[in-house]
Symmetry: C2
Subunit: 347 residues, 2 copies
């Protein structure tokens, strides 16, 4: 980490309260709902008649991020984005986050500050207030925990259980890129370990790597829904892979689904890279995680409004439960989808 060579301030020189003051001084609250932010036992929020939506996630060094190839700033950024994505997936707008970290003494004040830089960038871009957190030490490695709080009117909130037979299944963006980005980074890490002299040429893989290291949440889609008075019948963000998320919706809604392989959006770079890894591109799109795109279902009556939504793909239909959850391949076959997902415990 280059910034540590330039300046390395030991965390002990500031102490816990000094460190918190130091890293949070550039955070400013923008939401009227943030009555009181950092600096007391707890933050005070005002929901003003709206419903609140709360989501939380944990990120662990060596499991969710690897310091060999993840810039510190991106770690902070991604940890926030992943939680915001959960709030958007409820069709709500995030306004506050808490950000907690445990880290060992190998991290300097500058390193911690770099992570908070990423947090601040995400807060600025997505317009959320940092209202609290905890900063503590660990014996080894780093853990991050983020909680995001969003708001919506009761009738705007969209869960997983509202999909109905006849609804159209949509996704934003393209799928599989983040997974392929991770495969590239892991491959380069192994190459580097075995041949430390080699400089990798990652220019061609830039899009895929960025999708892995610095994903974005689909705020734009929720803004579009609001502006055009669209309320999806069900929605979920794609963190564990399209198939896994589709299973969640189908299970919660008591329905089946039919997906057209040819309609699943896959980026050109993903197509090429999947082939390089001897993988069918559709496999990475169906089972690769961490794209943080939105999977949602739309009632037929809203179809016209959704059709002109940018970066949106209609990939299939909700069918009766007994029809199962199936993929119609470009080759003309139909087969059952299997939820493989992202099992963090199978390493």
């Amino acid at each position: 980490m280059k910034e540590q060579e330039v300046k390395r301030t030991d965390v002990n020189t500031l102490g816990e309260f000094g460190l918190i003051e130091h890293i949070t001084k550039d955070f400013n609250n923008i939401h009227p709902s943030t009555n009181k932010g950092i600096g007391d036992d707890a933050a005070v929020l005002d929901a003003s008649g709206r419903k609140m939506v709360v989501s939380t996630d944990m990120f662990v060094e060596g499991i969710h991020f690897d310091l060999v190839y993840s810039p510190l700033k991106h770690i902070g950024y991604k940890a926030v984005i992943v939680n915001l994505s959960d709030i958007y997936a409820m069709n709500a707008i995030p306004e506050q986050i808490t950000f907690s970290m445990a880290f060992s003494s190998k991290y300097s004040v500058e390193a911690i500050q770099e992570i908070y830089e990423g947090v601040r960038t995400a807060c600025d871009l997505y317009k959320v207030d940092l209202i609290g957190g905890d900063t503590t030490s660990s014996t080894k490695g780093m853990s991050i925990s983020v909680t995001a709080i969003g708001y919506a009117k009761e009738e705007e909130i969209v869960g997983r259980s509202g999909a109905q037979v006849g609804d159209v299944i949509c996704v934003t963006g393209d799928l599989g890129a983040a997974y392929l980005g991770l495969q590239i980074l892991e491959r380069e890490k192994q190459l580097y370990i075995n041949h430390p002299g080699i400089q990798p040429d990652l220019a061609k893989a830039q899009y895929l790597i960025e999708r892995q290291l610095k994903p974005e949440a689909r705020k734009d889609a929720i803004d579009y829904f609001r502006k055009n008075e669209i309320i999806p019948t069900s929605m979920i963000d794609i963190s564990d892979g399209l198939t896994s998320e589709l299973f969640h919706i189908c299970k919660s809604s008591g329905v089946g689904a039919f997906i057209e392989e040819g309609k699943v959006p896959i980026h050109d770079d993903s197509q090429m890279m999947a082939l390089q890894f001897n993988m069918d591109p559709i496999t990475s799109a169906l089972n690769g995680g961490e794209d943080y795109e939105l999977l949602f279902t739309i009632n037929e009556k809203d179809l016209e409004k959704v059709r002109y939504m940018p970066d949106i793909y209609m990939i299939g239909d909700i069918v009766p439960k007994d029809d199962g959850i199936k993929l119609h391949t470009t080759g003309g076959n139909r087969h059952d989808l299997k939820a493989q997902g992202w099992n963090h415990f199978q390493t």
Copy 2:
């Protein structure tokens, strides 16, 4: 850990979603404000015109708890209590928590379940709903992150900044016990490491050890405030030691403080144990952390109402800032208090 000898189910046999379903199936929501709990991208809450109060804390194996002497159930219990304590310290009532964990493969499903047993016991006793969380793996050790959400009317919320000259400084319970409990546990751990055959006799230290391993939050004090229409002018929970918390209040309120040594409540067992450790009992009471008692200031007009509050001690007065933050010793001396606190980074 005995329960692991009896039955050890590998976490892989359930997978992430199976594990979450397994450990959360016995949690039931009781609050109308919990519109939607576990099972979607995020929980949905209703503040119904009240203000919301949000607090978060992180607990790391080897820093905040030691599996050598902390029963798993108590770890889950304490992690919840510490956060509820922050909500009470705002004079709010907690109604929801999220509970997240990262743990390595050395933990079985039974071990995780044991921790959640403690979470459930705390939820039952303090009447809070578990509304979400994250369960993931780590390469080594265990981290826990808890976020608590409470509610209060705007005029009920008490921060750190409202203490005024002439206010009386009060604390609940007794101080220093949790710190001394930790010293005993650490001493016994060293003894055990050096002489594995010796069975420690901890009967006499039971109160102190329980204060360390299974602290309680002062819900009763907040209930009493509500019932008797008392609103403290400032309040904080004692997690880092009386002196450290008093400094927070004085700094935020722009005042000084004067504490009577003889009025600081110290349990008989703490008195005796401090002397065994060659420590002045007042030192453990002033600087020992993790008691989770409440430190608050009361306007003189409310003094009569507070006087009959059970388990309450008036230990001093708020004075002008220029008078400093001082201790009046039983020996008749006055000296400046120094905030030592609980610095997790100085190990």
